[in-house]
Symmetry: C2
Subunit: 678 residues, 2 copies
């Protein structure tokens, strides 16, 4: 294990990963040299174990599989699209045989019966080729997940065993060209024909074609199709149906038209496509009927009365995809950081001291500033992801059953996915630039990392829409009476008739009250607290969150009170709403990091993690310091002190940086980069 | 012409590009409805003419050529690398025949004799496939530019006519694996052998191999090689030599080893490669001897005595590449905005008003906030680029000859390149995300735009190194006595022995004095001035620039005074230095925009450009409002007022957005995007 965590020949080539600390006195009145600070030494293997957590064995299994299939990273560059799609399919089916892709399915069908393990396995796959990751996600997460979560025993018996082994490939046909994140407005129709006891699936207009559907262009034999259920001319809303789309030879079935989405920016090992349905008939039991059913005579029944709430319950069971994508984004960022940090510990450029030797990149203050806060945020998001994956496990396995926790999980999954995938985009970009022209060569990994992860920010829900979902939960305080609202329809929520009631009942003055309680030592406490006190850091983020939320609620309510056009009101408050959601997630992330470091045993690894936690907290505050200044929570002097402290933290973390990226345990074969890492 | 500026069928499909303004009263106490503001109507053709400026004809020639070769955009996706490289070469040679790539060369060799025209042509090429652009840049800008600017008549006679037609392909072999931006430290050696009157070119160690050299892997027959000139064992610094590298059949010549750099993130139509030289002999006249020569007996001569200044003068003549890359980045951003804005004017998602129709994306406040400030900054950078291209023309054509202007041009070129290319990366990313999953399909352009432009931020000088160059000029006030300093060696400059003298002599108190003069109406003036007063906006940016610069100088000086390790001092002040440079360039960009709008005739186009200029200015201030708050130049109320004003400006620009991107005149074939634009 610990061998795996060290990049190739780092012992010989990177003597400088742990140079002696050079504190020295400072023009900026740093304190590090005056406080008896002793540079910690990271125990990499122990830190990897700590990061891997409960599922260390699962993660190691995946690491070993990745290392074995390392050649796929090169295949992605050299093979043409058709061949590469087949190659990726082979790898995915091969992995299925090791059990690593079926960990979330019931044991009786050959699965592992452990949702948490399946998330851990998926996250770790993100160290490798991301077409493999996404193909796994499509087959086992989306397609398999829909059968498992939305189907009954009949469907489980019919499909699960074969899909777990990869014998039956399927796709998840939700998104349409005209509707991505607004699922409730899908155009595809499923009309029940009582005479034949069949549903008739139809694409009624061009923009209702299914689009960007993974596995559709080539490998899927069946599709889970989301369509508006029509019974006797009245609509019961969106439901899911199992629809065969190809015969044994791979030819589209009658009434099914399939088109290849063609070349994409990345992920070209995944065969995305479009599907049109022309009066395709499927039997009555094709309806995935866990939450609603249609009797032979066409009578509709569901244990959930409200159509909105029913829809929302169905979608809620599919949340695992979002959790997985967030984790994948965070892990892709780790790969980029592992490369860029080690490069910065080898590469010298410009002589600065007259010693005749040029300086290492990571000894430049700006280079530290570019990479180390991103490293700290990666750790922070790692622990936040651990929390959300744990909650997903508890809810999905039925260990926790209350509705409030389910709503919180949805919110947390949405928020972590949004921040984790934006983090990936930002981090990979910064790391590429930090490796100069060499970072542009495909062999050095960034090309694939950038192109493949790019879509993460908009799939499984556009990040902005997801943050609106988070905001909705916060504004209604997850109130159960509003549970049945359109989960993705924040726009309609805040602008519809419901808004006045909601805001009145649950939010504004409660929210305003909460702000007062945020600062533990009274209104002036935060002006004197230590910058490195986690209670201070948390209080700052809590205050921002509560204040933004109350402000957004007040502005929405005022617009409604003034009887303005609700669309216009929402349009103007939208950035405020999004900012509040983001502030909320920032706070959750910091809480996860603080709690995790608190529970660590004392020692150098804890010292190192505390440095990262401080750096994450303070750089998060610094990034929005204008807001804190505007709202009286930072004095000018204190704002500047935070920036200085961040510089000091970067200098303390600099000698640990190599070990801190090694602890991610990215298999060295996954880093490639012969030029960058030597 | 005006036909070209309108995307396909926009008249039918995008009725909403200019919907009636819907001011309405506002929860945020906007003023737009109370000030009698009348929505302007943009004259697109006139605005294109205004943007195209002096070289409208050149730009139209390139537009027509691009439209003719539009199929290359698809070839980039479908052809394998070898075929695509040949295809790009064919196009480049074909374009050479139209004269559009040779506009900067002397007429006597078949060129156009107009540097400004050559920049305009190159910028416009950025609307099309960027491998073509970069291949043109390599052949005519870098290779041709080096022969023209560093060579004597002998070299011009020998090479120019053939390279202008593309008959002789060459490369520019400067960068080495071990040295990118720090050119002065290159490792390749050219030793003079007086006996044979030859230079012997050698790669002395592995990391001195030439790397990432465009045209090297396949097409170049000769290389301009930058090497340390050694005469009798003593070094005269970096000089350039013309070195044949391939025979007529394309085989490497004896002593020359060439390796393909392989697949890159993008620009795969350009054949980048590595070159090693093993005692390759070239005749004495292979030295490009405009600035220095070696006599037959090995005597060195140069009209420029100081080696540093000589090196700097040589590099200074190559500045055109930097100007061109900046312009290309800005124009690539225009393509992305043209697509994303039109998509946002067609695509509806989520119903917000109960009308039964979903809202257009661009009617969401957040969507406006995401795209429109980037649109404003694109206009701002366009005009800043026009200024720097004009200065380049004047300096290179000998219209302006004073040294101070040359130094200013270098600084401005470096700064505009850095901000223009970062702008491209940011804008293309935001536009991709704003088009959702559809933006991920290659046919919709973002894949190529992202991958191809990515390297712009680090080639022709890493952007951070370029901003350090800008800072050096500011700190020394372009003082002529420091002209001969290493132009790229900001690190060595601020940390070397020179720093104390420089700072003492030129900077600190002069800088502090200047701050006082920045605010035209005294210290409190900016607290009351109108937010939309360009004098206010400019004063804010000037104050920030001067204050940051003085602060950086003070911190550097204090470090030196305290006899600290200069490398450490620089490391800690580096982000401050970079911030000062960036503030400087922001101010230059705003000045260019303000001056340009001032000179426009009155009318609706001027009104529209003033809106964009205000949006650029205020969003630039807003982005750094923490700094202004910290330095007493913004009150909390005023800071919030700026954010409100930005929202109001976005709403005013929203109905003009389609016309404002159409005015860029991107040929519709270059937008592709059948899904996004319909």
């Amino acid at each position: 294990m610990s061998n795996q965590t060290v990049p190739p020949s780092s012992a010989e080539n990177v003597p400088s990963t742990a140079p002696p600390a050079t504190p020295a006195s400072d023009t900026d009145a740093d304190v590090e040299s005056k406080t008896g600070y002793i540079q910690p030494v990271v125990d990499v293997a122990a830190l990897t174990e700590f990061l891997d957590g409960r599922y260390a064995e699962v993660r190691d299994l995946v690491r070993a599989n990745l290392a074995e299939h390392a050649a796929v990273l090169e295949d992605a560059e050299t093979m043409d699209v058709d061949d590469f799609r087949e190659r990726v399919k082979e790898i995915v089916v091969g992995m299925a045989a090791t059990g690593q892709t079926g960990m979330g399915f019931p044991e009786e069908y050959g699965g592992g019966g452990d949702i948490g393990a399946s998330v851990a396995a998926f996250e770790t796959l993100a160290y490798g080729d991301l077409s493999v990751l996404v193909k796994v996600g499509v087959q086992f997460g989306l397609f398999g997940g829909a059968i498992l979560q939305l189907g009954g025993k009949h469907h489980h018996d019919a499909y699960l065993a074969d899909l777990i082994t990869g014998k039956l490939m399927g796709c998840f046909a939700m998104t349409e060209s005209g509707h991505g994140s607004n699922v409730q407005a899908l155009g595809t129709v499923a009309t029940y024909d009582a005479a034949s006891e069949e549903f008739v699936i139809t694409t009624p207009r061009e923009d209702a074609r299914k689009d960007y559907i993974g596995n559709a262009a080539r490998h899927a034999r069946v599709a889970v199709v989301f369509a508006q259920l029509e019974l006797d001319g009245s609509s019961e809303g969106v439901h899911a149906f199992v629809v065969p789309i190809r015969d044994e030879d791979g030819n589209p079935l009658p009434g099914v038209r399939i088109e290849d989405d063609g070349l994409k920016m990345g992920l070209n090992g995944v065969d995305n496509g479009r599907i049109w349905f022309d009066r395709v008939r499927v039997p009555r039991d094709a309806l995935l009927n866990r939450f609603a059913d249609v009797a032979a005579d066409g009578t509709y029944s569901s244990a959930i009365q409200s159509p909105g709430r029913r829809f929302f319950t169905m979608l809620g069971t599919l949340i695992q995809g979002r959790v997985c994508v967030g984790g994948a984004g965070i892990n892709a960022a780790k790969v980029a950081l592992a490369i860029a940090v080690h490069y910065a510990l080898r590469r010298r450029q410009f002589e600065a001291t007259g010693t005749g030797q040029e300086e290492l990149l990571l000894d430049y203050g700006l280079h530290q500033r570019r990479l180390l806060p991103l490293l700290a945020r990666t750790y922070a998001l790692h622990f936040a992801q651990e929390v959300v994956a744990g909650q997903l496990h508890d809810v999905t396995m039925g260990i926790v059953t209350d509705e409030h926790t389910k709503r919180e999980l949805e919110s947390r999954a949405a928020g972590t996915k949004a921040l984790g995938t934006w983090h990936a985009t930002e981090t990979i970009q910064e790391c590429r630039e930090a490796c100069g022209g060499a970072g542009y060569l495909a062999v050095n990994r960034f090309a694939a990392l950038k192109a493949d992860t790019d879509v993460f920010t908009t799939f499984e829900g556009d990040n902005h829409v997801l943050l609106q979902l988070v905001a909705k939960g916060l504004l209604t305080d997850y109130a159960s009476e509003f549970e049945d609202m359109d989960q993705l329809g924040m726009v309609r929520f805040v602008t519809g008739l419901a808004v006045e009631t909601v805001i009145e009942k649950t939010a504004v003055h409660k929210l305003l009250e909460r702000i007062k309680d945020v600062l533990p030592g009274g209104d002036q406490w935060d002006q004197d607290a230590g910058l490195l006190d986690p209670n201070y850091q948390l209080a700052m983020l809590r205050f921002r969150e509560e204040h933004m939320l109350a402000g957004a609620a007040r502005r929405l309510k005022r617009g409604i009170d003034d009887k303005l056009n609700p669309g216009e009101v929402f349009s103007r408050v939208q950035d405020h709403v999004i900012a509040a959601a983001r502030a909320h997630v920032d706070r959750l992330v910091l809480e996860a990091f603080v709690e995790k470091t608190r529970e660590m045993p004392d020692g150098d690894n804890k010292v190192a993690l505390n440095l990262l936690c401080d750096l994450y907290a303070l750089s998060t505050i610094e990034a929005d310091r204008a807001w804190f200044l505007e709202h009286g929570r930072l004095s000018v002097a204190r704002s500047k002190a935070i920036s200085r402290e961040i510089g000091s933290l970067c200098r303390k973390i600099r000698p640990l940086a190599g070990d801190l990226v090694d602890a991610f345990g990215v298999p060295p074969q996954m880093l490639r980069s012969p030029d960058l890492l030597g």
